[in-house]
């Protein structure tokens, strides 16, 4: 009978150990090992206990096993082994010992369950999360903000997420802030934590973790932990309407000096979207008529706060390559004024809302009011720049499998229906798309 050579076994073991060591050395940028909230730390404490107990059990059992098979391997001329049929004492021992070990895990487990699932304190920042196939809608009822795929959190303040879904199940997870929670239709789930006040201005990845269909992999979001004052600036700016040229300029209204008191009755999330003109309509840009050469510089009264793009870490920047076969006329430049008119006459307004544009009041797609202040588009899939926005409008379904947003570029093939888009069904030329993008880029 051939014997497994011990050398070979050693090589295997060494390789395995090497893999483990190699792997353990790298704490990735989305690691769960470095929690930055009380929720994350409660889990981490429990996890470390489990990891240590598990490691001890692992080493003990595997050592015992390896020792046994080496020590008791058959040797030539060996007498028949003694025939032990069992040993009640031993068997009680290895029934009771694991039970005791498990009890040591069970007690802190149950304690942590009750602590982390308690109701959040009422002064917490409320964020309503709505899952959609395949993007995230975030609403801040205390501030009247509706945004998508990027969530700003003030450090040191408890945030309470109310999790709901508009369609299938999703799961909301920011690894460094703590565990995930599913979004269940006809349920509201809650998840709260406090980003550490020592955290500083940082960016994080969030993911959908419940399989939700074709583009489940492309349902990501970005989290920005910012200073409380910057958060207030961001939130008040995001609550404002944005409008371009065509709406008669009214007195520019600066961001309210006094912050909405925390815990004030939540403003209905959609106030101001359907009722136009919005009382807070504010001119973001005066478009110089008929000069399409350069997208007009916007005169911004107060641009609010936006997480600085140059501080974004590499894992938070989108690197997704543009799919093959997509191209955009390189020489076209967009005109924002014309873009808005095209936008208002095209299919866009059926799904998207822009606070300050009375035509655009759809609720199916992401709210675009401050689109240009976001760092990514398509639920964290692509960077928010001219090229990607243009291609996105031209053929969203080629950019991201399965999206509900129709293919709008004329002569593009819809990957879903394989039909060619024509002008008759609302197809847009590259010039028209560039105009729309120029308009959208003013929505800061």
């Amino acid at each position: 009978m051939p014997h497994p050579s011990r050398a070979r076994r050693r090589v295997t073991l060494a390789a395995l150990v090497a893999v483990c060591v190699l792997a353990a050395c790298q704490n990735g940028p989305n690691t769960t090992f470095e929690p930055h909230s009380e929720f994350g730390r409660a889990i981490d404490g429990l996890w470390k206990l489990l990891l240590h107990v598990g490691t001890v059990v692992f080493i003990f059992v595997e050592t015992l096993l390896v020792y046994t098979i080496i020590r008791f391997r058959r040797r030539e001329g060996q007498p028949e082994p003694k025939h032990v049929h069992g040993n009640t004492r031993l068997e009680i021992l290895w029934t009771v010992t694991p039970a005791i070990v498990l009890a040591c895990i069970a007690v802190p487990t149950v304690r942590t369950i009750f602590r982390t699932q308690a109701r959040a304190t009422p002064d917490a920042l409320q964020v309503e999360v709505y899952g959609h196939q395949w993007w995230w809608e975030f609403r801040y009822p205390q501030y009247g903000v509706v945004t998508a795929n990027e969530v700003y959190l003030p450090i040191g303040r408890k945030v309470n997420f109310a999790l709901r879904t508009q369609d299938v199940l999703h799961s909301f997870w920011i690894p460094q802030m703590g565990g995930k929670r599913d979004l269940i239709a006809n349920h509201t789930n809650y998840l709260w934590f406090t980003p550490d006040s020592s955290l500083g201005v940082l960016d994080w990845n969030g993911t959908c973790n419940e399989y939700c269909g074709l583009s489940h992999a492309n349902m990501k979001f970005r989290v920005f932990t910012v200073l409380p004052a910057d958060f207030e600036r961001w939130a008040h700016h995001q609550a404002l309407a944005t409008t371009v040229g065509a709406v008669p300029p009214t007195t520019p209204v600066a961001a309210p000096a006094t912050a909405t008191p925390a815990g004030a009755p939540a403003a209905p999330a959609r106030v101001g979207i359907r009722s136009a003109p919005d009382p807070l309509v504010r001119t973001v840009a005066q478009v110089s008529g008929g000069a399409p050469a350069v997208a007009p510089a916007s005169t911004v009264v107060d641009s609010g706060y936006v997480f600085p793009a140059d501080r974004m870490r590499s894992n938070v920047v989108a690197h997704t390559p543009i799919p093959d076969g997509l191209a955009f006329s390189p020489l076209v430049t967009g005109d924002a004024e014309r873009g808005m008119q095209t936008y208002n006459k095209s299919a866009c307004i059926g799904c998207h809302a822009i606070k300050g544009n009375p035509y655009s009041a759809g609720i199916v797609g992401p709210n675009l009011t401050h689109l240009a202040s976001r760092h990514t588009i398509a639920a964290g899939l692509y960077p928010n720049d001219t090229d990607h926005l243009r291609l996105w409008i031209k053929n969203a379904r080629a950019m991201k499998p399965g999206v509900i947003m129709p293919v709008l570029g004329v002569n593009e093939i819809d990957p879903l229906t394989h039909a060619r888009v024509t002008a008759a069904v609302g197809g847009l030329t590259d010039q028209q798309i560039a105009d729309i993008v120029a308009y959208l880029q003013l929505l800061r």
Partner: protein, 663 residues
């Protein structure tokens, strides 16, 4: 040991076996059906393995487009569905068929024709659910099929239809087999084979059959709700009409968790056969092994919601399911220690079979420990739906179920072919498999803990997942190579392997007392069993000296099958059994035929095959509902129903086996 005159068999001219393909279609012999299960399941294992290689090729680096998102989602759904329902469960079923009657000293299962029916339903269901992948119509909702994603509102295509219909078909197969084996084990044990003398594989199979008949009705109900929603417009899962998506999740996991034990307990049973043989020691703590197996089965029904810690059940439910889950680790740990102490003090002989069995102990332990890690709901919230969980359950199902099944295949191959699998190729298979599977699955712990979600068809660069994924992919390719070596070994050894003889390993149980491959009637005489290790009693009485025995003669029982016998365990070591020289195969040696011995053998019949065909056609009629015309639907429905009813009528009105005319 009286030699009785062979009873005359009525209608002796009726052929009981056909040759060729028709012989396989009409067979009612549990050994041939077992071989059909084995090879069909191995085929589907390759199929599911190919799907795994596609998954790993896609994920080898960030932003890859080896397959599209749509194809990837179909493939990961089908990888899970194929491996669970078409590969691992049927591999276990192959062993139920091959071994249970032999281990309990019976001539066949209780219902041989139902047994054939189970197989044909399985293989036809497997075709229904597997073929659509070539038409981009394969299921794409995950093997767990969470609603509302799988309802018409979000999956209007035929993909999920295939899945619900396919799983219903496969469930019928499992249920029929479950009742069959329970009846067999309860009623057909040889004299003296009381429950606490049954070999551990039969015991674990016995537990598994109860899990099957209790768990599958639940998934059947859940699927029927979904069928009604999808085809007849009901609203069990329609969230727009107020349905609660957790209904599906609870029903699915009440089935789904026992399913894990359905997949792993047969492997535990096989390992419990292999280890004592090669340690030359009886199984340590046999009664505790039995009780812990039963306990795992019972507790397995009380832990399902640990798959749902993230859905927001509330702290009380979370705590309850956490504690029951931790509790189930106790009997599992007991099994591991009892196996180690079976080896302890033994004279361990290393064969490929034994290496795989020891491999199960080592690998399953890792899966068990990570299982305890996410029995703690707060910790699970960081781990669930990440690659950490993928690592965990592959250590359980690959490191547990498959390792055990491989051990079983290397161990029992000689019994059913008369030839040993090549040990040198076997070691290549074992070591590549061990290295490859650890290289595949161990890094997944780290990609998961570093935030990589499950079921994503691609991932972005710079997430810190690249190295782990590359390692996993390399490992998966190694497993692929190992599997090809294994298949080559099977094909080669089936023709050219060393001759095995009755009992190549020196095993203790009844199946090794008869020829390899066994004659169609298994036992010339139904043996009388006097202890837990009947064959060691005959060959090496000193090995079983201190096991309780029944005195010879206490079991002068009438054995109804095949007339009156008063048999002891027969063991005739073949004259030159040394594998190197090669004993003649039993089939070449010319054992007595059943007719010569007067043993009635069930008729070969195609009725179970046609009943299965009719049933599957009838159920598949729903798949044509997407067509503009309903003619094909009614055609298939009524055509299939007609075939089913006619086959069942013919089946129920024809005798199973020839009448024995007692002299």
């Amino acid at each position: 040991m009286a030699t009785l005159a062979a009873p005359a068999i009525a209608a002796a001219t009726t052929p009981t076996e056909y040759s060729g393909v028709w012989g396989w279609i009409t067979t009612t012999d549990h050994k041939r059906i077992g071989r059909l299960y084995l090879f069909t399941a191995l085929f589907f294992m390759l199929w599911g393995g190919a799907e795994a290689e596609i998954i790993r090729t896609q994920l080898r680096a960030p932003n890859m487009h080896f397959v599209s998102a749509a194809t990837y989602n179909e493939i990961f759904t089908m990888h899970g569905t194929t491996m669970i329902f078409l590969a691992v469960m049927p591999l276990s079923a192959a062993f139920f068929n091959l071994l249970i009657p032999l281990q309990i000293g019976a001539r066949d299962v209780a219902f041989p024709r139902l047994n054939a029916f189970s197989y044909w339903v399985y293989v036809l269901g497997g075709i229904v659910i597997s073929l659509p992948i070539f038409f981009h119509a394969a299921p794409n909702g995950g093997w767990f099929g969470y609603t509302p994603l799988t309802t018409n509102a979000y999956s209007p295509g035929i993909n999920i239809d295939v899945w619900v219909i396919g799983l219903q078909i496969l469930g019928i197969s499992s249920l029929a087999a479950g009742f069959n084996f329970i009846t067999t084990i309860i009623n057909m044990r040889a004299p003296g084979m009381n429950l606490m003398r049954m070999p551990m594989f039969t015991w674990m199979s016995f537990v598994v059959q109860f899990l099957i008949i209790l768990a599958f009705p639940v998934i059947t109900v859940a699927l029927i709700f979904l069928v009604f929603d999808r085809f007849f417009g009901t609203n069990f899962y329609t969230t727009a009409a107020g349905a609660d998506p957790l209904l599906w999740q609870h029903l699915f996991w009440i089935f789904g968790h026992p399913e894990v034990y359905i997949l792993v307990l047969p492997a535990f049973g096989l390992v419990s056969e292999v280890l004592p043989t090669f340690a030359r020691k009886p199984l340590f703590g046999y009664p505790v092994m039995v009780y812990s197996g039963i306990l795992i089965g019972v507790l397995g029904f009380g832990v399902w919601a640990h798959h749902m810690f993230a859905v927001g059940m509330g702290p009380i439910a979370d705590s309850f399911f956490s504690l029951t889950t931790m509790l189930i680790a106790v009997p599992t740990g007991v099994k591991i220690f009892n196996w180690i102490f079976t080896l302890w003090g033994g004279a361990i002989r290393f064969t490929v079979a034994n290496c795989f069995a020891i491999g199960l102990l080592a690998m399953f332990t890792i899966g068990g420990i990570s299982g305890v890690m996410h029995s703690s709901p707060p910790a699970d919230l960081q781990q669930t739906d990440t690659y950490f969980v993928v690592a965990h359950f592959h250590y359980v199902l690959f490191g547990g179920s498959l390792m055990g099944l491989f051990a079983g295949i290397y161990y029992y191959f000689p019994k059913f072919t008369g030839r040993l699998l090549d040990e040198r190729l076997g070691y290549w298979h074992f070591w590549l498999n061990l290295l490859g599977s650890n290289l595949t699955f161990f890094p997944m712990h780290f990609s998961g803990l570093n935030g990589m979600p499950r079921r994503i068809y691609t991932y972005d660069a710079d997430q810190g997942w690249d190295t782990y994924n590359l390692l996993s992919t390399i490992g998966a390719y190694l497993v692929g190579v190992a599997t090809l070596i294994f298949i080559y070994n099977i094909l080669r050894s089936a023709r050219h392997g060393q001759r095995a003889g009755n009992d190549p390993w020196g095993a203790p149980s009844l199946e090794w007392s008869i020829a390899s491959p066994p004659p169609i009637y298994n036992f010339e005489r139904i043996p009388t069993v006097t202890s837990r290790y009947p064959l060691w009693d005959v060959k090496d009485p000193q090995l079983t000296a201190d096991v309780p025995h029944t005195e010879q003669g206490d079991f002068r029982l009438r054995v109804v099958v095949g007339g009156e016998h008063e048999g002891t365990v027969q063991f005739h070591p073949e004259p030159d059994v040394d594998p190197r020289h090669g004993a003649p195969l039993a089939s070449e040696r010319g054992t007595a035929t059943a007719a010569e011995l007067g043993i009635p053998i069930p008729y070969s019949t195609a009725k179970p095959f046609f009943a299965a065909l009719g049933l599957v056609i009838m159920l598949c009629s729903l798949l044509t509902s997407h067509l503009d015309t309903h003619v094909p639907m009614y055609g298939l429905l009524f055509g299939g129903a007609a075939v089913l009813v006619a086959s069942l009528y013919a089946w129920f009105t024809s005798p199973l086996e020839p009448e024995v005319a007692h002299a």
